[in-house]
Symmetry: C2
DNA sequence: CTTGACCCCGTACCATACTACAGGGTTTAC
DNA sequence: GTAAACCCTGTAGTATGGTACGGGGTCAAG
């Protein structure tokens, strides 16, 4: 029987994650429990692909699964009011901005280094990452 | 005997890390082996504080210790090949830029949501977070 | 109607990045 | 000159985020 939706395997492939990861996320509450067929097989909506990609993307940016869960749960919680959601979203924005700033500094330090060291010849030390270690105070 | 430099405990406190972490980083090669006193006690230079703060900062940005090590080792002295270092630095700049871009998108999506959701009802009708799972598709 | 691909569950194992001992010397402050 | 505070080493344990496996049902094709 073929109704709409994805099987675990299809979803895993589409989102480029391991099948086991789906179950893991489900246990953690990151992926909502999908409906099941009579056989017990999970049937995921197409949107699950985006959700997984979001999770993966956020992870690369240094968010923990717990933080990602917070982001994702903000919209489901009908008990929280808008002001609360707004406040938390705003806070996340600030966190994200801090990360961006730190990355910009890091990037600039590296670019500086690249420019300083374009000569192939002579001697002296090319002062590379001396600049970088100073950014982290934030 | 009190010569210049920091003991493990002082360094750990100054950099806000666990003392054990210092040894761990040393084992991993992230923190160079400092000179020792006759007793065997490590004597760290002040600069170790910055190095540790850099490591901590970079971690928050989603770099693994291995990647951080690469960054830190990228100082070119006379023994390293400049072209090689430049190439690697350029590559790092690109990955950093990717992170920045992803974070910008995330930020914009959240800011958009914050603007959309200005009322005071329940978050269920708040269009904000509907968008989250989809903004990562990029 | 069977066989191979797929799914289920529970549990065990893995890598990364710490963190915590245990057992034993060293320093420093009183 | 002794006790608290600190340092050493090696090794073991923890948390997070998966990943693998065994034992067993399910489904679609031939």
């Amino acid at each position: 029987m073929e109704l709409v939706g994805l099987t675990a395997g299809k979803l895993a492939k589409a989102a480029e994650v391991n099948v086991e990861t789906l179950r893991y996320y489900e246990r953690r509450g990151l992926l909502p429990e999908p409906p099941r067929k009579a056989s017990g097989y999970r049937v995921y909506p197409e949107s699950a692909v985006d959700r997984l990609k979001f999770i993966k993307g956020a992870q690369v940016l240094g968010f923990t699964l717990e933080e990602i869960q917070e982001l994702l749960e903000m919209r489901l919680d009908t008990k929280t009011n808008r002001a609360d959601v707004r406040q938390r979203a705003t806070k996340k924005v600030a966190t994200i901005q801090e990360k961006i700033d730190a990355l910009e500094q890091m990037k600039q330090a590296l670019e500086h280094l690249v420019h300083q060291c374009h000569g192939s010849g002579s001697s002296a030390e090319c002062p590379i990452l001396e600049a970088i270690p100073t950014f982290s105070g934030t």
